[in-house]
Symmetry: C2
């Protein structure tokens, strides 16, 4: 049983390790065979040096080659699809099909291809030209990006394959991937293919590097190191805020995606009109992927009325009847149990579930909790404890104004949904509640659950703190997610031949949108 | 001698004060007659409550009315020009003409009108529409913005008149202005005109509020309060980093513009070609406004050669011959003296100046210092001490590679300039040095000094930490500066009539640029 190598400076080598770890198979609770090194600072600092070199080289690489790399990488992932699905299934317990093979993997390669197209086309960087003053600006690569991937999407948010990775590379930034400790093997497979694809297009081999784990102290050194340009982090709030604190102190942009309870408000008219359909949507959205989505609807807000009890009874029955899925890890299981314990301690009443087990391996019964509006308001913070997994809390408000007060107490969230009657009966309540909700969420939905996160240019997978660290950025959706990894570079009176291609008079692709003298245009700069 | 009132909740009233202060006339070193309150938390919290109300109302105000307000405000400033110029001259010592009356005031009203045009037109918010998925997003107002203005531009960066103010209002955010303590009266005059203009267009009167000073503790509470949406701060690094720390902790976007030494590299060919012209440009850029520009060229890098001594002799003579201007305040005078003391203690040799006085009121002799490259590298941090005022440090590198090492040691700066020979003699050195410089500055200039900051869409008045807090944003230049005060608001499946006007199928102005299905367009969304 060998310890797997790290990928640093373009080659696979033994980690300079302070220890090793193994991931569990969550369905069997048994450790998987491979060992992975816990890297020392020696690995981190070597990776940073190499990333700086790669960043320098990448600055003069044509965007076309970066695009070709991303496309080739996507092809190689598809060609090795079985291996990825097998490994991810073993490490995460997520179903091979449709989830991994037919959902997440195509999403991942699609995302890489969208990033490739954006890199090639160049509009993401908002090239801006003031021809009269000869001042020109563009978002240039911010430097090496450290990506910390989450446990729940081993492909689509993976540190060497996912959204942050694709966005950073498209921006021209090398990536140092820190694997999620629950799926190091999957991440390693991605890095293997990435390295091959880099070689095929002659890109610097240190454009993609991989370590699996570090000490907390070294993780903090990594994100605050002068060589680091920016950080993408998706994961727990606790660890994320620790990294944010050290990154902020030295002014490193850190893009976080932390916790979110994703409030869903169901208005009385909607319940009257289509209660059973909504029960169905809610139940399947809550339990999808065993509830382990960043956008899982963890907080349902109802306004007490004739349908309330029926809704809750049917939802509880749905939770009861649905199979109990496997959780991603021992840590997810214990933190779900702990969160539910806190919610119950605060006064939430379990309608169904609330016990360990029930599924293969790490698992917890599908759990639905209920609390009254008044009680929620008494301990609004405690009742917003995220229960990451197959559990949700229903808050039943006495009336619309109490629902408004509840929404006013919400922390920042990724999403907020409102179901309303299609004939307009709820419109007055909608008008009352939505302005409050709007300010507290990144994405507002009507009449649908938040779990689907389309890779769309208009998507916002972000939101106010503490859902993320800055409400202006999204982790999903191209081109906006790429802009996180750009530094604004202005060229004032710089001689024409020294300008980046995208800022020269001639449109470099004939396709690049540029803001020229106040108008977006794909044309060349007009001759004077 | 009455204490001037604060502007809170739409009316001028006595501050709930913990004390009072007066500003000095820097030319006489005598206190000016008016007293201003040091606000207690009572004032701050009332302003925050009112700002939240104003923010709510503003969300449903048509951008056209915000634009009309900004334009009317600009008109009212122009109509009262004499009073503004008199007051600012008394409080800052800056010359009435051309500086205040013919430079900064027109710049300020121009900036307000550009912000008005951007608000009216709406493209700044990057409205993005995915018509197939019916997902739409736009930057919406982030909430109340606290603006802390600097001492050096009482109009153009003033907390109730300048770039941050104009950008926040254009984004639909109310402003709580914290006057700079060195020119409270000027700020008050702006708030008087703003309140009148708000009334004329029926905007919430709490859209603009003004306090003059708070305790440090209350300032920190203000920026970290849940009601605050974002902060714009221009000023000293020390105070700015304190505010950043508390804002970061609660995830409030804080846009800082802090210190910058603005390196200027003069290559040997340029010196050979046009030494005297460059001496002239350097001297006047350094001493303009008594050196009190954020983009003042505080660090000149030369590569030792036959022209070096001549250049330095002539520059020193220029510094000696130029009149010594008045500094903005006692604090500026003492901190300039202290910075120069530090530079000298580290080993810089004064070529000219290095003594207090020489001008009217607060003043310090025009000072040019010199240090060798090797010595600079030994204490690179100390030699980057910003000497805010009429002083610059010249570093003479032994050779190109040493210059490269010097640039590698630079902190983040707003600007970086390179002068090179027009016939291409310096091109090789340029290629060696500029990639290093590029990553360390927001704006790269060729063959000109950095002091001019055009209000251009392509401007970047920003840069890597610690020049600012995030390298992706600019404090000057519309539309980009407005985007700092936007939160990304996504609408996923939201019914058509509930969408913000700018995201509905019909282009609201016929002029608004929107990214529709991957293409920038001023058209309506095509019917399916």
């Amino acid at each position: 049983m060998a310890t797997q190598p790290v990928l640093i400076s373009g080659r696979w080598r033994a980690g300079r390790a302070t220890g090793v770890f193994r991931a569990d198979n969550p369905r069997t609770k048994e450790p998987l065979p491979d060992e992975y090194p816990i890297s020392s600072w020696t690995d981190c600092t070597e990776a940073l040096d190499s990333a700086v070199d790669a960043a320098e080289t990448l600055r003069s690489v044509a965007p076309e080659r970066i695009a070709l790399f991303l496309e080739r990488f996507a092809e190689r992932i598809e060609a090795n699809k079985e291996a990825f699905v097998e490994m991810a299934h073993a490490e995460t317990g997520l179903p091979k099909s449709p989830r991994l093979a037919d959902g997440e993997l195509p999403r991942t390669t699609n995302q890489l291809r969208q990033a490739a197209a954006a890199a090639r086309e160049g509009s993401w960087a908002l090239p801006t030209i003031d021809s009269a003053a000869n001042i020109r600006s563009i978002l240039g690569p911010i430097g090496p990006v450290c990506v910390f991937g989450p446990n729940n999407f081993p492909f689509a948010f993976g540190s060497c394959s996912g959204g942050d990775f694709a966005a950073a590379i498209a921006a021209g930034c090398p990536v140092i991937g820190k694997a999620n400790s629950s799926h190091p093997g999957t991440t390693r497979l991605f890095a293997v293919e990435a390295l091959q694809a880099l070689g095929e297009y002659g890109l610097p081999l240190s454009t993609v590097q991989l370590i699996y784990r570090t000490s907390h102290v070294d993780g903090e050194r990594l994100v605050s190191d002068p060589r680091t340009g920016a950080i993408g982090y998706t994961g727990s709030r606790h660890a994320g805020l620790k990294l944010k604190a050290v990154a902020d102190e030295v002014g490193k942009p850190i893009y976080l995606e932390l916790s979110s309870v994703n409030p869903v408000v169901i208005l009385p008219g909607a319940l009257k009109e289509r209660r059973d359909a909504i029960v169905q949507e809610f139940t399947s959205s809550c339990l999808m992927g065993t509830g382990q989505f960043c956008t899982n609807p963890g907080l349902l807000v109802l306004i007490d009325g004739p349908e309330t009890n029926d809704f809750l009874t049917k939802a509880a029955a749905g939770f009861q009847a649905a199979p109990v899925g496997t959780l991603l890890s021992r840590g997810v299981e214990s933190s779900l149990a702990e969160s539910i314990r806190k919610l119950v301690a605060a006064g939430a009443k379990p309608l169904v579930g609330n016990q360990l087990g029930g599924g293969a391996g790490y698992s917890f019964a599908n759990t639905l909790l209920r609390v009254d509006g008044r009680k929620f308001l008494d301990q609004a913070e405690a009742f917003q404890t995220e229960a990451f997994g197959n559990a949700s809390l229903v808050v039943v408000a006495d009336h619309v104004e109490q629902a408004a007060m509840i929404l006013q107490r919400l922390e920042g969230n990724l999403t907020g949904c409102v179901y309303s009657d299609t004939r307009g009966e709820d419109d007055e309540i909608y008008e009352r509640l939505v302005p409050i909700l709007r300010q507290r969420v990144g994405r507002l939905l009507n009449d649908k659950m938040p779990t689907g996160v389309a890779v769309s240019a208009a998507m916002n997978h972000g939101g106010p703190f503490p859902a993320t660290g800055h409400p202006g950025f999204t982790a999903v959706g191209i081109p906006a997610s790429i802009r996180r990894f750009g530094a604004l570079h202005c060229y004032d009176g710089v001689r024409a031949h020294r300008l980046p291609t995208a800022l020269q008079d001639r449109n470099p692709t004939g396709q690049t949108w540029r803001l020229i003298d106040g108008q977006w245009s794909q044309a060349d700069v007009a001759k004077k």
